[in-house]
Amino acid sequence: MSKSENIDNTSNELIFGSANPNAIEVKDLRKTYTGKKIIKEVKAVDGISFSINKGEIFGLLGPNGAGKTTIINILCGLINQTEGDAFVGGYDVKKDLSKIKELIGVCPQQAAIYQYLNAKENIELFGNLYLVKKEEINKRMKGFLDLLGLSEASNRKAKKYSGGMLRQLNLIIALISDPPILFLDEPTVGMDPRVRRTTWKFINSLKETNKTIVLTTHYIEEAEALCDRVAIIDYGKLVAIGPPKELIEKHDCKNLEEVFLKITGRRILEGI
């Protein structure tokens, strides 16, 4: 069965902001947290530059606290950068946020779900917020629920869901507008291995729809299984970037975990 059957292929028809061929571009991005409550200033993002091609699955890999969520939050307009530039779909996050919001879907790190609604009601709400037509919402919703095996539970209230189911619903909501650009912040955290594999397959199937996907993760396997390229982030800095295979070969390692260890002297899952 072709996984893309239920997913429309409208993504590449959307007009991006400029002739910029990159879906996302980040130049010397910095975010520093200062404030009364913070004793020492935190350089959450410390001068990062990269660009992401259209249709690419791009991973931000790094330990907890590396600055991955901060980068995503800047790109989807939830927080302002302290310095540097960020472009999404050719639009400047500082100037054209409303245009960017039409292009993106966001799967936040924290599963943001209305607990007193069932899966369908949650998905419908967000479909409506993106002004998707009713029939189209229903069609896409059914497709996603089937693919992830959530159909049966979809009439039950979200407060009865397991952690893994909430994460899957979180992901579906991000997709309901069929956005050309997707941000997935730790999309499979808290899923058991079986559900995680289903979800990986699902995310991989999105490739056929030509979406640009930015995915953050601290799971080495996830980065290796899904990403065309990864940026390894540590303490707000970019320490390596490239296709997983190339990075592994270049540093003469067995996997990305070893690459990270070789560059930083620490392991990803330990480091905070």
């Binding site: 939830l78 993106i104 966001v106 943001a112 209305y114 007193y116 009601e121 419908e124 409506n128 917020l129």
Partner: protein
């Protein structure tokens, strides 16, 4: 402003009326319970000076009280949605602040109408008869809908101060208690104490309701003074609530 967005947001707010216990309890069950209890307890207790039953004296206050308690579900629903990351998530969609706030104002104002209707029917069943004409009863709806704006505003201010939904339900009492004690019209107060309530929006709603239910002529200027002052208070408070929440409350 897109209708599709506003309607979708209002729909889930209505669903919270049944799905979220705090909202269901405060918005609907509490006003119903208070009306029935007051009706049964005080329906046949006659006050010597006016010849009214105590229940009749309390009826305007029942409406006022339910509008006042609306602060709690408003505050806790904003806090809860913030805690769950839903406000941020909605913020990543093309939904505008106007559409978002507009939907909340509309749904809560319509819940105020629902409250007035339910309490109105209940007190009628329990034997209460307003002296006011139909136009007066209609004005009572208008007063309570406008008053609900101030409760929504105070709910937003509460959510701005509170760290989470539980704290919000507690902090809401800072705004509820003084208005309940001084301005609800439930308690007979000396004029000097009652003067403090001039600074509370509830004073104008309960005062107007009392006048209207007593069958005052609509040409009486007191009604219109109440209305103008209430509109002023409510607009100021709801604007302050929206601005404060937008600036400090979204984190």
């Amino acid at each position: 402003m897109k209708r599709q967005r506003i309607l979708a947001l209002m729909k889930i707010q209505y669903k919270s009326l049944i799905g979220v216990p705090t909202t269901l309890f405060i918005m609907l069950l509490l006003p119903i319970a208070l009306t029935i209890i007051f009706g049964l307890a005080f329906g046949s207790v006659i006050m010597e000076d006016t010849g009214q039953s105590v229940f009749e004296f309390l009826v305007p206050g029942l409406f006022a009280l339910s509008g006042l308690f609306m602060i709690i579900p408003v505050a806790s629903s904003f806090s809860e949605d913030r805690e769950k990351g839903l406000l941020k998530r909605i913020n990543t969609t093309p939904t505008t602040a106007g559409e978002f706030m507009g939907s909340h104002l509309l749904s809560n104002m319509s819940m105020a109408i629902l409250q007035v209707a339910i309490i109105g029917i209940l007190v009628f069943i329990m034997g209460y008869r307003s002296e006011g004409a139909i136009a007066g009863i209609f004005l009572a709806f208008v007063f309570m809908v406008i008053y609900s704006l101030s409760s929504i505003g105070l709910g937003l201010i509460t959510a701005t101060i509170a760290k989470n939904a539980k704290a919000a339900a507690g902090i809401a009492w800072i705004f509820i208690l003084p208005q309940q004690m001084l301005a609800s019209g439930l308690y007979p107060l000396p004029d000097s104490t009652r003067a403090i309530s001039m600074f509370m929006p509830l004073h104008y709603a309960s005062d107007a309701l009392t006048l209207l239910f007593d069958g005052i002529a609509l040409s009486d200027f007191r009604i219109w003074v109440d209305l103008i002052v209430l509109i002023f208070f409510s607009l100021v408070i709801v604007s302050a609530g929206i601005l404060l929440f937008k600036k400090y409350g979204k984190v």
